[in-house]
């Protein structure tokens, strides 16, 4: 063949231009994802109706049977747990959406374009975190209607919501990785059930861990969801939080350090 042909020099836009693109491309993808979310009634139901049902169900169905030592009774104990559980469950949508985009070739198209490589993942995480925050605010409002109150002032209340959201973002990074690595909507959903469900329910989210059998306590006491929810509970209701707060921050940092690179790698190699 024509051995003469040689590569042409490519002019690269400056680093500054590319950094600007990374931001605008992320915003474009975020906007796209939020538009899709608003268009699909099922997504809205998944992110709003389902968490509200959980609040009401635990408050009125299981709540009567669960004895807790919290200040304001079960509803005060419950709400930080529900916020954590909601944030974690919201990431099902992250994994499913990425798997769908992968299967349909949307990600292939985006990867073949001169857009910022980071934007698809970043835009997905930003949109989903925004969505998650909206859901958290809605369920807290519903919580207020059924008797929940913050007992520790405005600052810690905001910190609780922030911690719940960052926790959700961390779980979203894991979900993004599973979505891209597995790449099939149904399998991703099934796999999500296997790890997200036990992780949230085998924690301090809904019941005092002391009510669980000993072998289960060993797990529940030492897993990140419990640390995060205990810290959120401390922020919302008052009480000691230092140990659970730093442990949860270390766990969250660990999740970001491990799963962001894994998700990026899965995106690069996606096929």
């Amino acid at each position: 063949m024509t051995a003469l042909a040689h590569p042409v020099e490519a002019e690269q836009p400056s680093l500054r231009v590319r950094a600007g693109w990374a931001v605008t491309d992320t915003l474009t993808i975020t906007r796209r994802n939020l538009l899709v979310w608003l268009r699909v009634p099922a997504f809205l139901a998944f992110t709003v109706v389902q968490p509200v049902i959980f609040v009401l169900m635990f408050r009125y169905v299981f709540g009567g049977a669960i004895r807790v030592a919290s200040t304001g009774g079960y509803v005060d104990f419950l709400m930080p747990g529900i916020v954590g559980q909601t944030a974690a469950f919201a990431t099902f949508a992250t994994a499913i959406a990425l798997a769908q985009e992968l299967k349909k070739g949307v990600i292939d198209r985006l990867r073949s374009m001169p857009m910022a490589r980071s934007a698809v993942l970043a835009g997905r995480l930003v949109a989903d975190t925004g969505r998650m925050l909206v859901t958290i605010l809605i369920i807290i409002a519903v919580g207020y209607a059924v008797g929940f109150r913050f007992h520790n002032g405005v600052g810690p209340a905001i910190a609780m919501i922030a911690l719940g959201t960052v926790f959700g973002l961390a779980i979203a990074c894991i979900s993004a990785f599973t979505g891209l690595a597995i790449g099939d909507e149904e399998s991703v959903q099934a796999f999500g059930l296997i790890w997200i469900f036990p992780l949230t329910f085998l924690s301090s989210a809904f019941v005092p861990i002391s009510s669980m059998p000993g072998w289960l306590q060993a797990f529940a006491n030492n897993q990140p969801v419990t640390y995060v929810i205990d810290a959120m509970r401390g922020l919302a209701l008052g009480g000691p939080i230092e140990s659970s707060l730093w442990k949860s921050l270390v766990w969250l940092a660990g999740i970001f350090v491990v799963f962001i690179p894994l998700a990026v790698r899965a995106y690069r190699r996606a096929s």
């Binding site: 063949m1 024509t2 051995a3 042909a5 040689h6 590569p7 042409v8 490519a10 002019e11 690269q12 693109w21 605008t24 491309d25 474009t28 993808i29 906007r31 796209r32 538009l35 899709v36 268009r39 699909v40 349909k104 070739g105 949307v106 292939d108 198209r109 985006l110 990867r111 073949s112 374009m113 001169p114 857009m115 934007a119 096929s271």
Partner: protein
């Protein structure tokens, strides 16, 4: 871009394996600017792997590939600024409207809000989607979705367009529509690499065709050149009275070796380059034998014949699930209806 003489797409010794599967075993391609290369091959031949490497989605194991002079591995970003990709499925966001889909793609090509908007309007117009511009793409027909997908691949005004089986699953009318669009893109100077399993698609659109099978280029040339390699002209006819097929075949045995199918009554004889003379001889022989025939015709070999000759199996063999007869059998099924076309093609 510099050298005018440099091909738009240049591939040398490209290899790629997935574990034990050798998807590409060293292929070479060269596509001049503004032409269409048809890449033909059955499912799993390596077509999509080649496209994925050329569009920077996959790294090759060996060899090299240049698109508009840019190396797909070392200058992937520059390649991405040059190309458009439309795949086998419509890679569009179905919940969003056609206009929104194109606007978002425009923004990702770093057009301004206004530029992206007018580019979207322009493409919707060009692809006959203006009336559907503000409807969610999930309500589009299959053909419309594919057109929107192709429009999306053109937002960045690519000089090189990769179309990976662009008409697979489309009804015949939508397919013809896509062909018209592809022709108009070529007329505007775009270089196109088109993969397809449909032989007539390559025949219609491609300036050059390469046939890939099991990760190797097994033939290359124009459609006419490839047809020439399938052994020349064929005289074909059907015997309505199935009991006399053997008799008819014997009558024309002097022309070449007849292939007779007692089931369909179809007889075909490869006659090399003797063309019309062979046809006249066949008429005389059949007349003398007193066998009634239908659709007696001389035809140039089709790309189906080429494919069969080159690969030893029919192009769509791998998709045989529908239970339809493929390859030679399929050609025979359509003999009566298309005999007229063949005479025309032969002249």
């Amino acid at each position: 871009m510099s050298d005018v003489g440099q091909p738009s797409i240049l591939v040398e010794g490209l290899t790629k394996s997935f574990g034990q599967v050798h998807a590409l075993r060293g292929i070479d391609l060269s596509v001049p600017r503004g032409t269409v290369l048809g890449v033909l091959g059955p499912n799993g031949a390596g077509k999509t792997t080649a496209v994925r490497i050329l569009t920077t989605l996959l790294l090759p194991d060996g060899g090299r590939a240049l698109v508009e002079g840019y190396d797909v591995v070392r200058q992937a970003a520059a390649v991405r600024r040059t190309i458009g990709l439309a795949g086998q499925s419509a890679a569009i966001q179905e919940e969003l409207t056609g206009r929104e889909n194109l606007h978002i793609i425009g923004r990702l090509y770093h057009l301004s809000w206004q530029q992206a908007r007018s580019r979207a309007v322009e493409l919707l117009e060009q692809f006959g989607l203006s009336d559907a511009a503000d409807r969610a793409a999930k309500n589009y027909s299959g053909g419309m979705q594919r057109r929107l997908d192709l429009a999306a691949s053109l937002v960045g005004r690519p000089r090189v367009l990769f179309l990976d089986e662009p008409t697979i699953g489309l009804d015949p009318r939508s397919r013809l529509g896509m062909w018209d669009i592809i022709r108009s893109l070529v007329a505007d100077g775009t270089t196109i690499l088109l993969t397809t399993q449909y032989l007539e698609e390559a025949d219609e659109l491609a300036d050059e065709i390469v046939v890939i099978d099991h990760g190797l280029v097994i033939a290359a040339g124009t459609a006419e050149e490839l047809k020439g390699r399938a052994g020349g002209d064929v005289v074909e006819f059907t015997v309505p009275d199935r009991s006399r097929v053997g008799e008819a075949a014997a009558a024309v045995a002097g022309l070449g070796e007849p292939h007779a199918d007692p089931e369909t009554g179809m007889v075909s004889i490869g006659v090399g380059s003797r063309g019309s003379d062979a046809l006249i001889d066949a008429v005389r022989a059949l007349d003398a034998a007193g066998v009634a025939t239908r659709g007696l015709a001389l035809r140039r070999p089709s790309l189906d014949d080429v494919f069969l000759t080159l690969t030893g199996h029919a192009a769509e063999e791998e998709e045989q699930s529908a239970g339809r007869r493929r390859g030679r059998g399929r050609r025979r099924d359509s003999a009566d209806t298309s005999a007229g076309d063949r005479v025309k093609a032969a002249s």
